[in-house]
């Protein structure tokens, strides 16, 4: 895999919140690149409406990325950066530090 491809975080948007989880290939790549990291397997963050997903969660994405990977977003930038992918819509959004 190209080391400069972004890390992908999958976002399963539900009515009352969104479940975030690393894409399996990104997870494998990070396990190889960061063997000492202790990431969370998944994170659920609630929201009042689905429309809140981007507006409310957007500013939280750097923190969510850190929790799911075990390292800072600045560190992740050296590994190709991070994008959020919403499987239900195919939408892609960049996570900025």
């Amino acid at each position: 895999m190209d080391q400069q491809e972004p890390i992908i975080i999958l976002a399963g948007v539900q009515r009352n919140g969104t479940t975030y989880q690393l894409d399996p290939l990104s997870k494998l790549r990070l396990e190889a690149a960061l063997p000492g990291a202790k990431p969370a397997p998944r994170i659920f963050v609630g929201h009042e409406t689905q429309a809140d997903f981007e507006t409310l969660h957007g500013p939280m994405w750097p923190q969510i990325a850190s929790l799911l990977t075990g390292v800072s977003v600045d560190r992740l930038e050296t590994l190709g950066g991070v994008i959020i992918r919403v499987p239900s819509s195919g939408k892609l959004m960049e996570v900025r530090p």
Partner: protein, 145 residues
């Protein structure tokens, strides 16, 4: 459903078919498990054993949810339900993304065709052995009431 009841869980079936087939509930804690059941008739293989094919919505397969989804792939062979492949969505998606199992059928609603062959104790799918999921209800350990 009977397998879940025997294990001490409660089971609910949605009145309207919108995706999930079953909700399995731990009454004491209120924990909810989502289950989607797929069935297939097996056909015999030339060199012993049998095989069955399932079709899963690709978007659903890659969509993490809370609570997350478990697939039960039920195989009918020789006039009985011979095998239940119980696979968490996350595991099946990993097998597809990392090891390439299944064949993607493109379209407005893309799907993943999963071909399982049962032979000599091995459950093969695209070169991977998925026997650990065969009749494995460990996601739902028995509850003592």
């Amino acid at each position: 459903m009977s397998e879940f009841l025997i294990r001490g869980y409660n089971v609910a079936v949605p009145a309207v078919d919108r995706g999930d087939d079953l909700f399995v509930v731990e009454d004491d804690s209120g924990s909810l498990h989502r289950v989607q059941v797929k069935t297939a008739n097996a056909r015999p293989l030339k060199a012993a054993g049998y095989a069955a094919q399932f079709s899963l919505p690709l978007r659903q397969l890659g969509d993490p949810q809370t609570p997350d989804l478990n697939y039960v792939l039920a195989v009918r062979h020789a006039d009985r339900w011979s095998d239940f492949m119980i696979i968490p969505r996350e595991d099946l998606y990993r097998e597809h993304r990392v090891h390439g199992i299944g064949s993607v059928i493109a379209g407005d609603k893309p799907s993943l065709q999963v071909y399982l062959s049962f032979r000599s104790g091995v459950v093969a799918c695209s070169g991977r052995d998925l026997r650990i999921y065969r009749n494995n209800f460990a996601v739902w350990p028995p509850i003592a009431h």
